[in-house]
């Protein structure tokens, strides 16, 4: 079905606006102006903006329009303005990582992810707020202020890529880079009602991206649609000589299978763990999603989870805290008071981990992945799970500093995301309707290592049947412009 191009280019999908710029239906400058206006209004209303670069954006857009007018070959994202989490380094711009400790930090290298987007012709117009040092699942940040959910500002965005999720949902950004160490792309995607891909370990370069946990960090995109996400990963994926940990493995055509559907695809349903402690509303949305896959021809198979899966949430937290503490040790000794409350509490906890136990936790990854693969991928092609096991909570209910009991809520938020990080697998978060509070519900597709293409194929089929990405927050709660 052909997509009608909206009167405001900012309301278009990434794919549609890319095509429109390329065909000169709309200029890159017009698109950039539209996005800058949205970032100034909606982006600031949800506190997503860490830095805005209108002059550079306009100059780049004019240059992009000249290239197209000259009939020259353009990159796949030529002339499209984007904004990204404030942890991807670019010389000439600060990268403050949501922290007082990085205030004014001027990076010396260009991140591998931004380099690829630059080469594809994308325009980088803003830096987006985030959890301090990408460490947190809610979006709380005492230093920059909390990013708020465009659907309802009393609720969390999810973290740590809070500004990425909020800006894309608010139709102020076509796509954003995020990072996912324990759920930091998928949880903001889930809370804000957008699409987020946590890639297989090594699929996307981490060079020049602020590290939190070298064993678990991944870089990936948040977008409005599955096709947009596949387009972004087409640009981002591949080996980077600057990142020795990036995989030397072929990159498939992520767009090729988007229309192939799920008929005959074996979709596993976990009979335990991922469906433990679901709220009734989320359980119902999950049942709805199962019905959609079934109606589209997928073969639904109940899959028992390995008993070891129940350890993976805690083991992931342990590895992040320990590796994070090692990275931050000097500042923990000398500038502990400059951290946000939640960050210092988690990082300092990592100082308590015995080295022997940390190494055992890392060693378990191989054993647990083998168990998981044997039980799951021998029988099915992908696994379908809930993403956020509860309705999107409020900012107040998840403020650990003010409410110690909120720690239990926080542990629950990462229940379905962290096992995927521990196992190093790809996971795609998709919007799956709404709960009674009017905030998004979500599902997750988990695949074999490096099989992001199949997740996009299945996600696209689900999206086609449901059309959740066409719903946008009206943001009527915003104060009228002066």
């Amino acid at each position: 079905m052909a997509e009608t191009f909206p009167s405001n280019p900012a309301d278009a999908t990434l794919t549609a606006v890319r095509d429109a710029v390329r065909s000169r239906r709309v200029s890159s400058l017009e698109v950039t102006e539209a996005i800058m206006e949205r970032l100034e209004t909606r982006g600031r209303a949800v506190n997503a903006i860490a830095g805005l670069y209108p002059d550079a954006g306009r100059a780049d857009a004019k240059a992009a329009d000249k290239v197209i007018a000259a009939g020259k070959t353009a990159g796949v994202l030529h002339g499209v303005p984007l904004a990204h989490k404030d942890m991807f380094y670019r010389p000439g711009r600060p990268s403050e990582c949501g922290s007082k400790l990085r205030q004014g930090y001027q990076p010396k290298v260009l991140s591998g992810a931004l380099k690829r987007l630059d080469q594809a012709g994308a325009i980088d117009v803003a830096r987006l707020n985030m959890n301090e040092f990408a460490y947190g699942v809610t979006g709380h940040n005492d230093w920059t202020g909390n990013v708020t959910n465009p659907w309802n500002p009393a609720h969390i965005t999810g973290g740590s890529s809070s500004g990425s999720g909020a800006s894309v949902a608010a139709r102020a950004n076509f796509a954003a880079l995020g990072s996912d160490t324990g759920g930091s792309i998928r949880l903001p995607a889930a809370c804000c009602g957008v699409t987020g891909m946590k890639v297989t370990m090594g699929r996307v370069s981490r060079f020049g991206a602020m590290p939190l946990s070298h064993s678990l960090d991944t870089v990936g995109p948040l977008t409005r649609t599955v096709a947009d996400n596949a387009l972004m990963l087409s640009v981002l994926a591949g080996h980077d000589p600057d990142d020795a940990s990036s995989a030397r493995i072929a990159v498939p055509d992520y767009l090729a299978g988007l229309e192939m559907g799920v008929a005959g695809l074996r979709v596993g349903l976990p009979v335990s763990y991922f469906r433990d402690s679901l709220s009734p509303e989320v359980e119902q949305r999950f049942e709805d999603a199962i019905a959609v896959f079934k109606a589209a021809g997928a073969v639904i198979v109940d899959i028992p989870m390995p008993a070891s899966i129940r350890f993976t949430n805690s083991l992931t937290s342990l590895i992040i805290a320990t590796e994070g503490a090692a990275l931050h040790q000097k500042w923990l000794q000398t500038r502990a008071n400059d951290y946000c409350r939640q960050t210092i509490g988690r990082l300092a906890g990592g100082l308590l981990t015995p080295a022997t136990r940390y190494l055992q936790a890392l060693d378990l990854r191989r054993t647990l992945l083998a168990e998981f693969a044997e039980l799951v991928f021998r029988r099915v092609d992908i696994l379908l799970t809930p993403m956020l096991p509860m309705p999107v909570p409020t900012i107040v209910a998840t403020d650990v500093g003010a409410r110690p009991e909120a720690a239990e809520v926080l542990a629950g938020i990462g229940h379905c995301s962290r096992p995927v990080n521990f196992l190093g697998l790809p996971g795609l978060s998709l919007p799956a309707g709404f709960t009674q509070s009017g905030l998004p519900a979500s599902i997750q597709l988990v695949g074999r290592p490096y099989d992001e293409a199949l997740l996009y194929q299945a996600g696209c089929a689900y999206e086609r049947e449901t059309d959740w990405p066409s719903r946008a927050p009206d943001m009527a709660w915003m104060e009228p412009a002066a």
Partner: protein, 73 residues
Amino acid sequence: MTNDNDDDRALGQWLSSLQGSNIELSGIINPSRGSRNVGALLDDAGADLNFDREPPEFYKLLLDLAPKDLTRG
């Protein structure tokens, strides 16, 4: 036998003498979550004697499980 005060003293000593940090214990979030300590978590999860595995084997397994058309010969 230890009590909470002994544990606090031990943790405080660990942080100050081994980690060089002077951070209030009350603000620290246990990374293994809940009341389970790190040792019990790892023991329950099956951390075992592994003398016959190379450290990078996790990454090798990721590649082994990848779609065959993506892996190079």
